[in-house]
Symmetry: C2
Subunit: 147 residues, 2 copies
DNA sequence: GTGGTTGCAAACCCTTTGCATAGAC
DNA sequence: GTCTATGCAAAGGGTTTGCAACCAC
């Protein structure tokens, strides 16, 4: 089993291929590379641009359009979650299990915290004919002591 | 007290001017018109585009660029709050007091619910050197009974 | 009069799309 | 061989910016 990417976790090719196939996605060269970067390490909140740069940092090249398309396919397949940050660029979150986010004061960066960090004593009455799909909690932070 | 805009609430010119001045903004024609639309009625979540259309619906005209610039000035002044919807367009919320949002299943539209609709039994430990600025709760809804 | 504000158009950024080529099965 | 995925460049949508004319004080 050879692999051309340096990464903290081993490139388990067959595992990634399996995961893609199970999601109904052909395991093309590009999708395997992107899946490896996304799921092979601990990376969390990536923009398409950042992911594209990581590809190039590994001396590979995939067009930015394909990065975008692939990210959207992964979202549709439930492998990724889309989150809207502060600016108008979309972040893609490799965690699909329930969790929430801190927004850091300095740079607007996102930090995860687990779902069990929050407990609701009460939730509001819902509009008729609806139920909760999911609840999003985002805690905006500020530096201690500042107004 | 005359006013050129049809709206459900009276155009209290001096009140709007006062509010703008207090925020350090010159009460220009354009800012007063926009403030009147934003704060004179019960409007809630507007995009720049929607606000621009409302201006034209009142037989007035303000350039879209000025609408954008004014909205950003109002946000900086604390008169509005910026919220990121589902797409990549920014919504501006005329409520600055604490409240949260439902995201409707049909169209991704936003509906307010008051802050007292939620109670937290528990909040997570914060990163060192930070405190909570504000907590955002967004409840994504789905049609009853659908997966 | 002075300095902030507006309007227009062009620029900008992020993202998607059309179409020919390349690749998976 | 067939059908899907990719790459490129161009288009697209939303938002910001540069600069001359304009307006509030």
């Amino acid at each position: 089993m050879t692999h051309g990417l340096m990464c903290s976790q081993p490139f388990v090719y067959s595992e990634l291929v399996q995961r893609l196939k199970k999601s109904g996605l052909r395991p093309t060269r590009q999708r395997v590379i992107l899946a490896n970067i996304l799921f092979g390490r601990g990376a969390r909140h990536l923009t398409a641009e950042q992911l594209h740069r990581e590809v190039r940092d590994n001396a590979l090249r995939i067009s930015l359009a394909t990065v975008y398309n692939t990210l959207n396919q992964f979202v549709d397949a439930g492998l990724l979650r889309e989150i809207q940050g502060q600016g108008q660029q979309t972040y893609f979150d490799t965690r699909t299990e329930d969790h929430f986010h801190f927004v850091l004061p300095q740079n607007g960066g996102l930090v995860d915290f687990p779902a069990h960090g929050v407990d609701f004593a009460k939730l509001p009455a819902l509009p008729p004919g609806t139920e909760i799909d999911r609840v999003e909690v985002t805690i905006h932070l500020k530096p201690l002591g500042k107004a």
